[in-house]
Structures are given as structure tokens and as C-alpha cells.
Amino acid sequence: MFDDLIREQDVVWASALMGLGPGGFAPVDGDDSRLKAMLNLDTVDFEACPGSGKTTLLVAKLAVLAMRWPHRQQGICVLSHTNAARNEISTKLSNSAAGIALTRYPHFVGTIHSFVNEYLALPWLRSKGIEVRRVDTQIALMKRWGMLSNTTRWTVQQSGLEETALIYTQPDYTGGNKGKFGPHTATYQALVAASRAGSEQGYFCFDEMFVWANQLLESPSF
């Protein structure tokens, strides 16, 4: 489906777009590895030392793909552990149509967290009637902690746990590190109740979004 999406004349264009002049990816002294890398449309793993231009190569390829993209219902999905690619696109491509297109439907550029949020967890939570206000572990835990009674807080702290005991790993708000507290203890139930109440108010920890995305993916008929 990617046949002929990157042509040689596009490489010159992309190079100029990235601020490298027309010959940014041109062969140097018979070494055409950069040009080959640009034209390559197979599954491929690029390894190089820091600062050698891996992200630049990626963004240049993306610019060409976005410009030539023929599909309306399928997009380019760029996933990274950090927002580096996204920032690179916004700095290097902010003035080009390709850069703007990449940030819009049907494409996606972002972290795995934001991908899961946008396409799975958020639509699923909205459908449950939950208005998601913030996805931020610190804020969510602070909210939940505030809902606990002084006694519960003291008990939790005495057993060597802290706010993170309020993070859940199951859609019924259980799981996570609850220390020595078994499911039948009052403290355990108070923790679960606070996690539920805080979530229903719309405050979530980052990793909890995977819990919800997973629930959607595992739901019958999905």
C-alpha cells in the first residue's frame, strides 16, 4: 500500500523543508545510505549515534508520506516513548502543509499513553458517562487521598504505604499495591471506594487508562 509513496524528487523537497538545503540526504563520496534510508518503505530499524539525525530522517519521511498520503480512512501512526517526534514535527514542520496534516485526522503522532487515551480509553469512559477531567497520577491521587478519613490515612501510612495504594489495576478499582490489607478489611474497602469516587469524578492516573482500554478491548463483541 506504500508503493511509490516516496520518490527521489520528494527527497530534495523534504531536505529543504527540514532546513538542510536541497542536498541534505544526497550521497556523499559515494555513500548513498541516507538517500536509501529516505526511500526505504519496508519495515526497518535505524541505529545511529546520538545527534546523527535519526529523528530528522523520521520527520522528513513523515513529511513526504503526509504529502502523498492517498487514504482517507487510514492514517500514519507515530508512536514514541517521549514527545520528541511530536516536538520535532512542530518545530521543523510547523510552517508546512505536511506538518499540519500530520497532526490532524486521520494521522496520529504521540506517546503510547496518549494513543491509548485518545482512541480507546477516553471514548470508552465517555460512553460510561464519566467526564474525564484530568489524567494525571499526582492530581488523581491527591483527590483520592483527600477523600479518605483521617483514620484510614493513618492506618495506611502506619503500614508503610502511601497515596500510590490508591492506584488500581482492575476495572472494579481493585488491584495494585494494597500492602497487608486484604479485600475484606475496612481499609482496603475504603481505598477502593476512594479510587472509585475519584475516578467517577473524572480524575485518573496515567496507567489506569490502560485498565479501561483493556476493558474495552476485552468486552464481548468488540
Partner: protein, 677 residues
């Protein structure tokens, strides 16, 4: 994917809250039927606003589109249109995943796409922008991400306007619809190879693509000896003397062509024109009329929709019957229904929504595919929404034909069982100053069967939730119980013969004596209950049949005359006798019956014997009776008020139900002087 529900608030005639418009749709074809100004076009326009259309025309919100609850009242601040799509394919779900809504129904998760379109009126005084830019929200509560332009483009509908000018749409010209359609046709784009200047002449011109042929032709133009010479002359004789030595002007003659393939193809296709030929002979230049061109136009749009490999295929047609004669309309409808059943390569089926005023179209469709639009509300006629049973649906599918389908376009419906009622009641209504045409009443003659089934079309299964159809429906039916002395008078029994006891007798007719105590009233209540409730009401003859009841209540003389004329109909048509003679004879005979009859029942039975025993046609008699009554009123011998007093109450009530109530009570029937024994 298909649109399963349309909700419209504060748009044109649709209000908000319980006055909002809600329409549920099934996949495939839906026809919106109803009288003028019911809101059919407003529904189509609402869909156009939300989805956008593929033609070049853009519908914009106008300040007058904002609902006005009452004349002079302030207009609503915002229009909200909510579309719910269901039946999403895997590709749909992938393409639109961030916008989806999941509904957990009975343990399984259903996927829906809910789009809430909001347009706000600009309240700022003196602003030239009277409507603020509209928003496309997603999610059940409109709390999801806004629908991106790219995603919206997947949903655009194909819209065919009413009274479309198919000839213009199909003709050549800049931006012609035909060129747009052809450009998106796979065969045009993918068949053949391009023209290569280095391979001139091409090995086989037939192998060239459409664009290749165009390019080749352009290339040939440039090579043409005539053009070359003209250019030479232009350059040498005219431009050279006008040029400076160091800046020579040179002319180039060629066909203007854009460098981009798609643009050049469009320019080429815009030169094409589509015309229908009369026969298989494609060269025939015989041109077809508006109707045929319209068919052609629709065929092209369908071709495009069916060939697409992505997006949501929705076809909106206003009045597909435009310019088409009845048989063509039926063929078109069957064709559209077939098209809607076909699955495209990407698993999508075309959804078609049409508005129509054509009883032909309406009669050809299943009730499941019809939605009645009335007074700004929609009433889907599919199973489960109406009081109709599955057997009613099968019955109506067989028998709801063109003559009956006008009930979908009426303001009121009178359903009758026979020709006599069909002929007489409209005339009587007119004489009572309740003209059916004036009140938009449509009379449906079901011919003896299924009276209640037609009426139940207008009854909602859940009137509390869906509201009631505000179209009064009156069913008029006979009681079919004769007075006790009638069997001998109308010839069911010989003189002296006793009434056969049932069982073992299998006689179908009933006399009053067959019913004990309140059984007769039960029979009446049962008949009425078959179709009564909401705005539907069944009116059962007070006594026996329409003719008998007319005679019984005071029009005996006229019914007798009419029946006598009906018996003499052949002779009257052959001119071997004249009306005056028949009437004189009838009056004499009637006088004798009146003189002999001990009561109104016996009198009525004797009049009715002309139909039952002598075989007078009820339909022909009804026609004569209508003429006689009209003449009587015209000559001032009878007025509306007196006539009403002489009519059977059930007929008057039925007429009042579908038109307007009568203010003053009817006078007591003057009746014929009956000799009391």
C-alpha cells in the same frame, strides 16, 4: 454503517424538548411521506447541514432557520441536530475510533457514532455575521472530540434536489457534475496506460487511458501541419517585426493543459456530455425528455456511490418521482430498493432517504421503509412502532395499492368498506358543508376486507413515548344485523318458513332476535374496538347497512328512487326510458310500501329489498342517490341542517370526525308518515 436516528431541535418548524423531532431509521431505503409543510425537506436539509454534500452547493444556516415557537416570539438561540450511526463496520470503527460511543446493551457492547451538530445564533447587535460557525461534536453527551474536517469528509452525502435539472447536470461544462462523477469512477482512472511523448506514435492508441488519449490528442494538435504553419506565419510575419533584436517574441500554439494529471483529466472530462439514446444504437441523437434524463442522473450518482471504496454512502433524494410517469416511478423505486440491499466491496450498504408525494412510490414500498412526517413529528411505520400485527404487515403489503396509498398524504382519512360509501359519503359531506377536498380528507375504499388493518397504520404502539399521529381516521362499517321481519321481506326466507336455528343451520345473516339482552351492544362494541383509540375511530352503522340505515332514518324515498334508477340503469342508458318515468313509478311503489308498513324497520327492509332481492347495484344506486340529493339541495328543497337530521347518526359522526364537529344538534328526523297499526 447507517443513520439509525435523527434528532432535530429548534430547526425551522421543529421545536425543542417534547416538540423536538425524532426519527428512527432502518438500514437501506427510507421514504419520508406526508402532506406539504409537514417537515420532510427540513429533515433532508438538517442532514445536509450536518453531513455536507458532494455537489458544489453548500447549504448554510440562515437566521430564519432558527425555530420560532410562536409568531412574533423570539427565535431559538441554537439549533441542535444529533445523528446516531449504527451498524459500523470494522473499517468504520477504525477510522472513527476516537469519536465512538459504546453502548452496553444486554451484556454486549454496541458501537455507535453520535454526532451533535450545533449552530448558534449571533446575539451580538449590528454584527454582519448572523450565525456563528457551527460545531460538530461527538459522544453521547457531545463531550467527545470535535469532528475533524477529514473525518467529516468521510460522511458527506450525495444529494439530489427536487425538480433537479438533470440535463444541465449531465451536460458538458466547467465543474459539471458528470465530470465530477466520471473523475471518481475507477474505470476511468485505472484503465489503460498514459501517453508517453517518447513513444510517438503509441504502439496501440486503444490501449491508452482516457487521460492518455487526451494527452495524445493534445500532442497531435501541437504536431499538426496547419497549426505549425500558422505559428510560423505568426512568428515570422508579425511577431518578428514587433520584437527587439535582443528580446525575440515567439508564439507557441497548443492545447492548454495543466501540468497536474488530475486537473488535466478534469478539464478533459468537462468536455464530455451524457445523453440518452433511444435504442441500442448508440449513435442515435434522438434526445430524451426530462424524466429520462432524471433517471440517467440518478443512475450516475448511484454508480459513483456504489464504486467508492471508503466513506459513508448516503443518498438523499427529494421527490425521486419528479418528471417520471407512474410505471417509471415504480421501476425506480424497485431499483433503489435493490441498490440499498447490495453490499459494497468495503462492506457498506448504501443508505437512501427519499421524500415523496407520490402514492405510486409509497404503495410500492414496505411499510417498514416508510416514515410518516406529520406536524413536525416523525412516525416510523416499521414493525413494533405501530399497532399493526405481523399479519397486518403481510396483508397490507399485498393490498395497499396506489389508490389506497393516498392515505399517507391526507390530513384526515375516511376508510370505507364499499363503493356505496366511497361514492356517497363525500357527496353527503359536501352537502353538509364539510367538503372533503376542502378538509384534505382522503377516502380509502378497502372493498370489504381489512378495514381495521388500514386504520391501525395510524395507531402508535407507544403513543406516550412517540406521540400520536394527529390525523383523524374514521372507519365506517356495517352492523350487519337485520330487523326480525326482514328475512321474509328481502327474500332470505319463503313466506311461512321459520328462521333456521343456528346451529345446525350455517346461515351467515343475523336478525336482532339472534341476540339476547346486551349481546347486540357487545357486537357493536367489538366492531368498534377493532380500530379505535388515539385519533382513530370506528363508526358502526346504527342498524344494518348504509342503505338500510339511510332509509330507516328518513331518506327512504330517495334511496327507493335511487335503487329503482339503478335497476333501470341499462334502460336509462339505452334511452328506452327516462328518469322522470322511473322516479314516478318508484314514488308510487314507495307510497304503497309506506302505507302498508307498520313501522320504520319494515319500511326500511322493503326499501332494502330492492338491493337484496331485486339485485339493484349498490354502487350505481349510490351514484343516483348522490345526484338526487345534490339536485334537491340545489333546488332549495333540502338544506344542510334538515339533511343532517335525516341521516343516520353514525355517518354524520364519521364525517364530523374527519372534518369538523357540527355546532347545533341535528333536528329530529321528519321521517315519512308511518301508519301505526
Amino acid at each position: 454503517m447507517y443513520i439509525a436516528e435523527v434528532q432535530i431541535e429548534n430547526f425551522r418548524l421543529f421545536g425543542s424538548a417534547d416538540r423536538a423531532f425524532v426519527l428512527t431509521l432502518n438500514p437501506g431505503l427510507t421514504a419520508l411521506v406526508g402532506e406539504n409543510d409537514a417537515g420532510k425537506t427540513a429533515v433532508i436539509d438538517a442532514l445536509r447541514l450536518v453531513l455536507g454534500t458532494r455537489d458544489q452547493d453548500v447549504l448554510r444556516v440562515d437566521p430564519v432557520d432558527f425555530h420560532q415557537a410562536a409568531p412574533g416570539a423570539e427565535r431559538a438561540d441554537q439549533i441542535v441536530i444529533r445523528l446516531t450511526f449504527r451498524g459500523l463496520t470494522i473499517a468504520d470503527r477504525g477510522a472513527l475510533s476516537e469519536f465512538l460511543t459504546y453502548e452496553t446493551i444486554g451484556g454486549t457492547v454496541e458501537t455507535a457514532l453520535i454526532i451533535t451538530w450545533v449552530a448558534k445564533r449571533n446575539a451580538k447587535e449590528g454584527s454582519s455575521r448572523r450565525v456563528l460557525p457551527s460545531e460538530w461534536r461527538t459522544g453521547a453527551k457531545g463531550d467527545g472530540p470535535l469532528l475533524d474536517l477529514g473525518a467529516r469528509s468521510l460522511l458527506t452525502a450525495t444529494y439530489l434536489r427536487p425538480l433537479r435539472d438533470a440535463e444541465r447536470a449531465m451536460s458538458a461544462g466547467r465543474g459539471s457534475r458528470l465530470s465530477q462523477i466520471l473523475q471518481n469512477t475507477k474505470e476511468i482512472r485505472d484503465t489503460g496506460v498514459g501517453f508517453d511523448q517518447n513513444a510517438d506514435p503509441p504502439a496501440d492508441p486503444k490501449m491508452l487511458s482516457v487521460l492518455g488519449l487526451g494527452d495524445y490528442a493534445n500532442h497531435l494538435f501541437g504536431q499538426s501541419e496547419g497549426i505549425k504553419q500558422a505559428r510560423k506565419r505568426l512568428n515570422e510575419d508579425y511577431l518578428a517585426p514587433l520584437s527587439f533584436a535582443n528580446d525575440l517574441l515567439r508564439a507557441r500554439i497548443g492545447v492548454a493543459g495543466a501540468p497536474e494529471d488530475s486537473l488535466r483529466l478534469r478539464q478533459l472530462l468537462e468536455k464530455l456530455e451524457l445523453a440518452l439514446t433511444a435504442s441500442a444504437d448508440a449513435e442515435s441523437a434522438h434526445s430524451r425528455g426530462l424524466g429520462s434524463n432524471n433517471l440517467l442522473f440518478m443512475a450516475c450518482e448511484l454508480l459513483l456511490l456504489a464504486a467508492e471504496s471508503d466513506g459513508f454512502p448516503l443518498l438523499l433524494i427529494e421527490e425521486p418521482e419528479a418528471h417520471l410517469h407512474p410505471q417509471r416511478q415504480l421501476r425506480l423505486m424497485s431499483f433503489l430498493q435493490e441498490q440499498a440491499k447490495k453490499e459494497r466491496a468495503d462492506g457498506q450498504r448504501i443508505q437512501i432517504i427519499v421524500t415523496t408525494h407520490s402514492p405510486n412510490l409509497a404503495s410500492d414500498l414496505h411499510l417498514d421503509n416508510l416514515a410518516l412526517i406529520e406536524g413536525g413529528r416523525a412516525f416510523s411505520l416499521c414493525q413494533g412502532k405501530t399497532k399493526l400485527s405481523p399479519s397486518d404487515y403481510r396483508f397490507l403489503e399485498r393490498f395497499l395499492d396506489v389508490t389506497k396509498a393516498n392515505l399517507f398524504f391526507a390530513r384526515a382519512v375516511l376508510i370505507v368498506e364499499g363503493d356505496a360509501e366511497n361514492i356517497l359519503l363525500p357527496v353527503i359531506a359536501k352537502l353538509l358543508d364539510r367538503d372533503f377536498h376542502h378538509h384534505g380528507v382522503s377516502v380509502v375504499n378497502v372493498g370489504g376486507v381489512g378495514l381495521g388493518r388500514y386504520a391501525r397504520i395510524f395507531m402508535r404502539e407507544d403513543p406516550v413515548r412517540d406521540g400520536m399521529i394527529n390525523i383523524p381516521v374514521a372507519c365506517v362499517t356495517d352492523m350487519d344485523v337485520m330487523p326480525d321481519m326482514a328475512p321474509w321481506i328481502i327474500g332470505k326466507l319463503e313466506a311461512g318458513q321459520p328462521v333456521p336455528v343456528r346451529p345446525p343451520s350455517k346461515r351467515q345473516w343475523r336478525i336482532k332476535a339472534d341476540f339476547h339482552s346486551d349481546e347486540l351492544e357487545h357486537r357493536r362494541t367489538d366492531r368498534r374496538a377493532k380500530a379505535s383509540g388515539q385519533k382513530v375511530e370506528t363508526f358502526v352503522a346504527g342498524e344494518w347497512t348504509l342503505e338500510y340505515d339511510l332509509a330507516f332514518h328518513g331518506l327512504g324515498k330517495f334511496v327507493f328512487r335511487a335503487a329503482s334508477l339503478a335497476l333501470a340503469d341499462d334502460r336509462l342508458n339505452a334511452r328506452t326510458t327516462v328518469q322522470a318515468d322511473v322516479i314516478a313509478a318508484a314514488d308510487a311503489a314507495y307510497r304503497a310500501i309506506v302505507d302498508a308498513a307498520p313501522d320504520q324497520e319494515t319500511l326500511g327492509a322493503h326499501v332494502y329489498a330492492l338491493f337484496e332481492a331485486d339485485g339493484a347495484s349498490k354502487a350505481i344506486a349510490a351514484q343516483y342517490l348522490a345526484e338526487l340529493l345534490e339536485k334537491e339541495v340545489k333546488e332549495g328543497k333540502l338544506d344542510a341542517h334538515t339533511l343532517r337530521g335525516q341521516l343516520p347518526p353514525y355517518a354524520v359522526e364519521a364525517i364530523a370526525h374527519v372534518t369538523a364537529p357540527f355546532d347545533a344538534p341535528a333536528p329530529p328526523p321528519a321521517g315519512e308518515p308511518v301508519m301505526v297499526a
